[in-house]
């Protein structure tokens, strides 16, 4: 075989069984070629920073691309081997190296699963705040690469606000620290540059993360509205009222119908929108703020309001919202999930436009939203077996993102550009803006070895809709 020499060298570094290259074995990583167009030469599973460094050096000496990969739950194609090469899966590096409750930080390897970190720190009354809906499966390394958010990032912030430093392997195989355990370190904020760089500049091999106090009180409120507009207006009013809830989530009629059929949350059949608001913090402020939130919600003529005081009740209120994505399969064989963000004051306008776009194109769109931070997830429902459906879906996806940008919003709130949205970058950025970004690759001297062919437009559409696999990898109970 052409690459036998490469495989042999890799095996010396990570061990025989941790270099996977037989096509039938690559299937385990779902690189089966049927959806993801590019097959990697091999998947390599290093166990230590030294091994990652060794693997990078070998790949570079053979001139093959390197694609870092965590759990593979990314929704923009970040872990696809777009230009072949080797996939470096960090899923064996799963140790929590240190929990320092006094200084409220933890040091972890990149393969640690998001939720497992918070579970490990709970006994100290602390947690890792970024909580992507895929948190039962996604890794801290993936979170860092995507600068992931989650339903509760409205109050807590996203990954970059919670990572103090990283150990990284650079494209020449050298190991460097960016940031550290302290809040300030000398020099440029390379930490902040690498977070959200989608695995194109360096491989994270350790992360120092901040831990946050678990809130002493949480109160959840669910308001059901006859019309989407009422719910959207309530969201804008809550934000404008000077309260920053921990989460404001929303879903529209189609998402409600799907969720209702799947999880029987007890939503009225004619509900136009469900709004979920969670307030947390000190119990005295939670009391007052949840009452204020309820008052604002009532002003917009809800059909019904439900509240939860304990964890079990809370789970019940969240069940419908969390079940929506999984339930979409009841409505159509395929869905395509969009991830734009808009200013929160534009919710009513944009949601109305999305309904129009859906009607014009004749494809239903179910909407789930992290409404509190203006992050929309319209899900276009289609059937890939129907001729033209896929093309139309992609076309609508582009139109929705253009709409988001036109009202002052952005292309992606949390899922990243990847290969999915690279051709849309010019909606937001000029040639000069993108040229300036691309210089980072030169500064990190990557020679475009890390995750090539992503983030920046190539001038040719290569969008493919492989999200359903990522969702499957996120496991039962994952939502968006």
């Amino acid at each position: 075989m052409a690459h036998e020499g490469l495989f042999q060298e890799l095996k010396v570094v990570v061990g025989e069984e941790y270099v996977v290259h037989a096509p039938e074995d690559l299937v385990v990583f779902e690189y089966d070629g049927s959806v993801d167009k590019a097959l990697p030469l091999a998947v390599v599973l290093p166990a230590t920073t030294e091994q990652v460094s060794g693997v990078v050096k070998i790949a570079r000496s053979h001139g093959v691309p390197i694609v870092p990969r965590g759990a593979g739950t990314g929704l923009s194609g970040g872990a696809i081997a777009a230009k072949g090469g080797i996939v470096v899966a960090l899923t064996r590096m799963t140790r929590i190296l240190e929990i320092d409750p006094v200084n409220r930080l933890a040091v972890v390897e990149p393969g640690v699963v998001n939720l497992e970190l918070s579970m490990a720190t709970a006994k100290y009354g602390l947690f890792f705040a970024p909580d992507p809906s895929s948190q039962k499966a996604c890794t801290i390394g993936g979170n860092v690469a995507e600068n992931s958010g989650g339903p509760h990032c409205l109050a807590y912030g996203v990954t970059t606000n919670h990572v103090l430093g990283m150990e990284v392997v650079l494209a020449d195989g050298s190991v460097a620290w960016v940031g550290g355990r302290t809040r300030e370190t000398p020099g440029y904020d390379l930490r902040g540059i690498l977070i959200g760089s989608e695995g194109t500049l360096a491989i994270t091999t350790k992360a120092v993360v901040r831990l946050v106090k678990l809130p002493e009180a949480v109160k959840t409120l669910l308001a059901i509205y006859p019309r989407l507009n009422d719910a959207s207006a309530a969201v804008s009013d809550i934000i404008a009222s000077g309260i920053v809830p921990a989460a404001i989530e929303m879903m529209d009629d189609l998402a409600i119908q799907a969720a209702e059929a799947a999880v029987h949350a007890g939503y009225p059949a004619d509900a136009g929108a469900v709004l979920l608001v969670e307030v947390d913090g000190l119990k005295e402020s939670v009391e007052v703020e949840s009452a204020l939130v309820e008052e604002v919600c009532r002003r917009h003529n809800p059909m019904e309001i439900r509240t939860a005081e304990d964890a079990a009740q809370r789970e019940r209120l969240w069940a419908g919202r969390k079940g929506a994505l999984g339930a979409l399969g009841r409505l159509a064989p395929n869905y395509y999930l969009i991830d734009g963000t808009i200013p929160r004051t534009k919710l009513v306008e944009v949601m109305a436009r999305i309904k129009e776009i859906s009607a014009e194109a004749g494809l239903p769109i179910a909407n789930v939203l992290h409404a509190g931070d203006g992050n929309l997830h319209p899900c276009i429902l289609f059937d890939e077996r129907k001729p033209g459906d896929t093309e139309r879906t992609l076309e609508i996806g582009g139109r929705i993102l253009k709409l988001c940008v036109d009202v002052g919003g952005v292309l992606t709130g949390e899922h990243g550009i990847g290969v999915e949205k690279q051709e849309y970058m010019p909606f937001m950025f000029t040639e000069d803006d993108m040229a300036s970004m691309a210089r980072l690759k030169l500064a990190f001297a990557t020679d475009d070895a890390f995750n090539p062919g992503k983030v920046f437009p190539k001038g040719a559409s290569c969008v493919d809709i492989s999200q359903m696999k990522a969702v499957a990898r996120a496991g039962a109970g994952a939502f968006v």
Binding site: E284, S285, T412, K421, D433, S436, L440
Partner: protein
Amino acid sequence: MTTQISAYTVDGKTPHTVLRPSTTEDLRSMMAAASADKLAVVPWGGGTKMALGNPPERYDAALDLQGLGRIVSHNPADLTATVEAGITIAALQDALTKRGQFVALGAPLADRATVGGTLAVGTAGPLKWQYGSPRDVVIGMTVVQADGKATKSGGQVVKNVSGYDMARLHVGGLGTLGVIAQVSFKLTPLPAREATLLSGFASMPQAMAAALAVFHGGAVPLALTTFDDDAARRMAMPGSDAWRVAVEMGGRPLSLERQVKECEAALRAHGAARVDRLDAPDPKMSGLWRKLTDFGWDQPTRPTVSARVSLVPSKSSEFLEALEHVPGERAVVSHPAHGTVLVHWYGTADDAAAKALSTTREVAVRLGGSAVFERCPVALKASLDVWGDARDSLAVMRRMKEQYDPGRLLNPGRFVGGI
């Protein structure tokens, strides 16, 4: 403007010209012209922190950005605002306060310090620390590059991962990779009420232990600062406690009262000799925090040399104990929740100052931290790097400079490693 050119002196070097753009477009064309003429340019905000940095290699033109002082947009219902870089922190906060909001960004001498300068320095002040560092409140930025091109990144929404997060290069980059022209911020509603507890302690370890207890307690302080009696005297505060702890808290009435109660109990349990309460809008409260923020930068408290030390919070006491034997007159202000310790020396001769600074850095590094010398006589700057050591990431940082400012026009030599 009537400002003399000598007012733009940096580390003894005076420029030939002062450029004063009043729009981003002006700034763009001035930078393009400066670039064509290969002029070394020092961007200038309020000029409050020009003492910071290694001496400039070359210095032809000061680029005074105070003419870029507009609020481009404030969208109160969306908790976002976009401003030009030359607006002062005070002017911005005043405008936001009118709508019950603030941006978690503070600076010494806030009525002179500009948004651009504050971000370029990038360090957090004592206030509102729980909302993060300056880098955490920026959601979008327009930068004018060394070649005069304007580029933007981010946006005006609070959640965004579209493209690389370029603003990170400029927050804390000391204007060495581009000139910050416009910034979009994420805003926060002002707390309904605020109160401060000021307490006195007989010793440093007691005060630091009390501060850590507050950090770990039930209250969620908005600011947590400890300072020694020397600092108190320089701020003309009454009393003679060896160390003091100031805690600011905020919230709705009931939650504020509970926080104050718990905080006071923690302070007393750690030996507070007295605990005084100040409530907003008492000018004494805002005055206390203004003095603490300005310490070391306003005229009466300006030291000969000073170090900004960054540690993990638990190491502050050990650090200060190790500094005890260093001779010289000094004052200390620290923000234990950040792990920041600010050490200031007064009236120190150069050789003693050099010794004090090098010991400070040695101890900080030994404890896993770092030290930036925020104020340092020019003569001493020749023999040290005021920033310390960026270690294994310095090579990447140097290449950043090569990429974004190949002609070394922006603040040449002033950043870490002589970047």
